[in-house]
């Protein structure tokens, strides 16, 4: 007890020195991105720790390289911790009061973290903050405060087997009617044309296309009980009932990408991550990405993102912000996303990123109309209940009104309280 109290008392002095050094460094022109500063000012080097989850070995390696680049600048030293069971590890560190200075924040975790006061609002402290997509900025905004700059993002679009569509003489659908027709045409006995996971984070695209959403925009009211919502759910449920659409589990696959790769579906609805998975697991499959069909209310999709959070309890905030600025600088962000399917969160980089992968254009286009799938603290129970209902719709044992009522009631408890 007394030892830790002692340590706690001593730390602020060290932190203050580091912060001062970092501030001085920020003020001094020589500390910029140019290589000159290597030998230049030697400020008291702050030691930063960073927590991240692993997306793929290749991405881990790139993250390590970017961090090495930063460490070489000599401003601060960052130690990276790539953790399995990330949420649990991060939560334990936060609860213990000694969190890492910088860490990945999944967009759906942001409201909880922000409400708990775990995050330092640094969103607008990075260079050119308005360059980030507005929907992503919204994902990381809680009660009017924009907390952290997005690292990169993905959107959901329609991914299909090129050969199968050509053989069936089907063009990528652009409306709901065309989607139904396409799914029907691509369905073979015992095999559905379209496979999609039975959860809100997939089915939500149809809600968006119908102009429906579980809550209103500022998440102050549940809006499950709208005719548009019923229409969206009924449309997808009917496709399931007809056997033209199914869950991955139903066809013996873990997720949509696997179903597509194994030929257990001709189309699926997935995000950018499918590109890496297909390259690894099914390199011979010819697939393409098209925009999702437009529904009664136009186009709609979901965006998922991760941001670089800075801990409120960090002793080296200024240094941490400096590091995040480096990470989300145009140059480093492009370097970080260039070789990967995830897209840079800065609008200005879209063209450059697309230059060598024009086939992924649909994902980028999605950013213009994507909805954030982020609600308020404690909303996870509502999503769980909605997913429960969606599983019932996919399996055909629950009627739409029952699912709507269950989610609406579950939401009322959280949204009003």
């Amino acid at each position: 007890m007394s030892i830790s109290a002692d340590l706690r008392r001593r730390r602020p002095a060290r932190a203050a020195a580091a912060a001062l050094a970092a501030l001085l460094c920020l003020a001094a022109a020589g500390c910029g991105d140019d290589g000159d500063s290597d030998q230049g000012a030697q400020p008291a080097n702050a030691k930063l720790s960073m927590y991240a989850f692993s997306s793929s070995p290749a991405e881990d390696a790139t993250l390590r390289k970017v961090i090495d680049d930063y460490n070489k600048l000599g401003r601060n030293t960052v130690t990276l911790n790539v953790l399995p069971e990330y949420d649990t590890a991060l939560q334990t560190a936060l609860a213990g009061g000694e969190p890492p200075d910088v860490f990945y924040v999944n967009d759906n975790k942001l409201p909880d973290l922000a409400k708990a006061g775990a995050l330092e609002p640094i969103g607008d402290k990075v260079d050119n903050p308005n360059d980030f997509y507005e929907s992503l900025r919204q994902s990381f905004t809680y009660e009017g405060t924009y907390y952290c700059p997005p690292k990169d993002f993905s959107t959901l679009q329609l991914v299909y087997n090129v050969d199968e569509l050509a053989k069936a003489n089907v063009k990528p659908p652009t409306t709901w009617d065309e989607l139904s027709a396409a799914a029907r045409a691509l369905t073979k006995p015992g095999r559905p044309g379209l496979v999609m996971g039975p959860e809100f984070y997939r089915w939500g695209v149809f809600m968006a296309q119908a102009g429906a959403w579980p809550t209103n925009d500022d998440v102050s009211k549940m809006t499950m009980d709208t005719p548009q919502m019923a229409q969206a759910l009924q449309y997808v449920a009917d496709l399931h009932k007809g056997g033209f659409m199914a869950s991955p589990q139903k066809v013996g696959a873990g997720w949509g990408g696997e179903a597509l790769g194994k030929g257990k579906a001709a189309m699926t609805i997935e995000g950018n991550w499918i590109v890496g998975a297909m390259k690894n697991d099914f390199p011979n499959l010819k697939y393409a990405v098209a925009e999702l069909p437009a529904g009664p209310a136009g186009k709609g999709t979901l965006a998922f993102s991760v941001c670089y959070g800075v801990a409120k309890a960090s002793k080296n905030k200024a240094a941490a912000i400096d590091f995040v600025k480096f990470l989300v600088s145009s140059e480093k962000q492009l370097e970080f996303t260039k070789q990967f399917p995830v897209m840079p969160s800065r609008k200005s980089l879209a063209e450059q990123w697309l230059a060598d992968k024009p086939e992924l254009k649909a994902f980028v286009t999605g950013a213009d109309y994507a909805k954030k799938a982020v609600f308020i603290p404690g909303f996870k129970t509502v999503i769980d209940t909605l997913n429960d209902g969606i599983q019932g719709l996919a399996a055909g044992n629950k009627p739409v009104p029952e699912v709507v009522t269950a989610a609406q009631n579950a939401g009322k408890e959280v949204v009003s309280g």
Binding site: A116, A118, K250, G252, P377, D388, A395
Partner: protein, 365 residues
């Protein structure tokens, strides 16, 4: 026997001291020595007590305290706010998703216990008797073979079972070969309770009015009586398969403790093998049986890893269990206080069940 032994050690202390002055003096002196010994004793156990206090008692007390607070678990504990009994009320009294989820988890786990405990106990006893029989050759091989599932990592086994029960997995292939037509059941997505299924065969598809209208903890009586879902049944088979080996070893140890003379004596008395088993072996195995049942009950009420790996509470919440709910609420829903409350309700539940079982087994004496 245990009682007799305990009485034996206690006897010297219970002997009344001889009357008279010398006796009193004699009595006082050893007591002083004993006092000093007691101090030394406490000193010797102090490190262990400190360890237990720090790693067992303190965390339990702290968790109990947390169960009366609103804590996200995303900031240090001192940021939490007191909420009185709200966490418990949300779970037990106030109707809502929290309550109905908890009710579902209790229902699921109840069926799980009801299926797994008798199955694993009977199976392990049977295997122990087989391995213990004098006629069996290659005992070591069978002992190892039966024990093998228990030393395998439960997560690894869970993943194997996912493959076994997948639509194109071994189970379906086997069933397709045995039954007419092809079986394409998606076992781990089957949410329908087996009781509901059986009732469905009998023509009862929807809840009869008296079952559908009344609710207990936000769940209709009809839902309470659903029986385990097919997905849960798969996990129950897995659990039985993995734990049987351990309990078989316990039964084996118990069987080998039975003196052979007893068996021989009953043989001479003309008892049939059946009588020998039910009148001699089984009564002598009661302590082991009690141990196995108790451990089985505790273990099954805490089922977590298989669910985490195989179904994550789905399909349609039919494999939610209190232990999984603790994880979900604490680490995914940022409701650590509620998670702690579930933990204590689960603790009370296990205590109650063990107590009931103790009473039942004792009454048979």
């Amino acid at each position: 026997m245990v009682d007799a032994a305990r009485a034996g050690t206690a006897a010297p202390a219970a002997v009344p001291p001889p009357a008279g002055r010398p006796g009193r003096r004699l009595r006082r002196r050893p007591s002083r020595i004993r006092g000093r010994q007691a101090l030394a004793g406490w000193l010797f156990v102090a490190p262990a007590l400190l360890g237990l206090g720090l790693f067992l008692v303190a965390p339990i007390l702290m968790a109990f305290w947390v169960s009366f607070r609103d804590w996200s678990g995303l900031a240090p504990l001192d940021t939490s706010t007191p909420t009185g009994t709200e966490n418990y009320r949300d779970l037990l009294v106030e109707s809502g998703v929290v309550q109905s989820d908890f009710a579902k988890s209790l229902r699921n786990n109840f069926y799980y216990v009801l299926g797994v405990v008798p199955a694993q106990t009977a199976l392990s006893f049977f295997l122990a008797v087989v391995v213990n029989s004098k006629l069996l050759k290659g005992k070591t091989f069978f002992r190892t073979a039966f024990y093998f599932p228990s030393v395998t990592s439960s997560i690894a086994v869970a993943f194997i079972f996912i493959f076994l029960f997948s639509p194109s997995g071994v189970v379906n292939v086997l069933l397709s070969a045995l039954l007419p037509g092809t079986v394409e059941t998606v076992w781990l997505s089957e949410f329908k309770g087996v009781v509901h299924t059986v009732l469905g065969w009998l023509g009862v598809d929807t809840a009869p009015a008296f079952l559908g209208e009344h609710r207990l903890m936000g769940l209709s009586y009809w839902d309470w009586l659903s029986g385990p879902s097919v997905a849960l049944l798969a996990i129950m088979i897995l659990a039985t398969w993995t734990t049987t080996g351990t309990f078989m070893l316990m039964f084996l140890a118990g069987l080998q403790n039975i003196p052979e003379e007893l068996d021989e004596a009953s043989l001479i008395d003309g008892a049939t093998p059946r009588q020998r088993f039910f009148r001699v072996t089984l009564p002598l195995m009661r302590p082991t049986l009690f141990l196995v049942l108790t451990l089985g009950l505790i273990g099954t009420w805490q089922v977590f890893d298989q669910i985490y790996a195989m179904t994550a509470g789905g399909p349609q919440k039919t494999t939610l269990t209190p232990a999984y709910l603790i994880y979900r609420d604490g680490f995914e829903n940022s409701a650590m206080g509620r998670a702690a409350a579930i933990a204590f309700i689960l603790f009370a539940l296990i205590l109650a069940f063990t107590g009931i079982q103790r009473l039942l087994l004792r009454r048979e004496d």
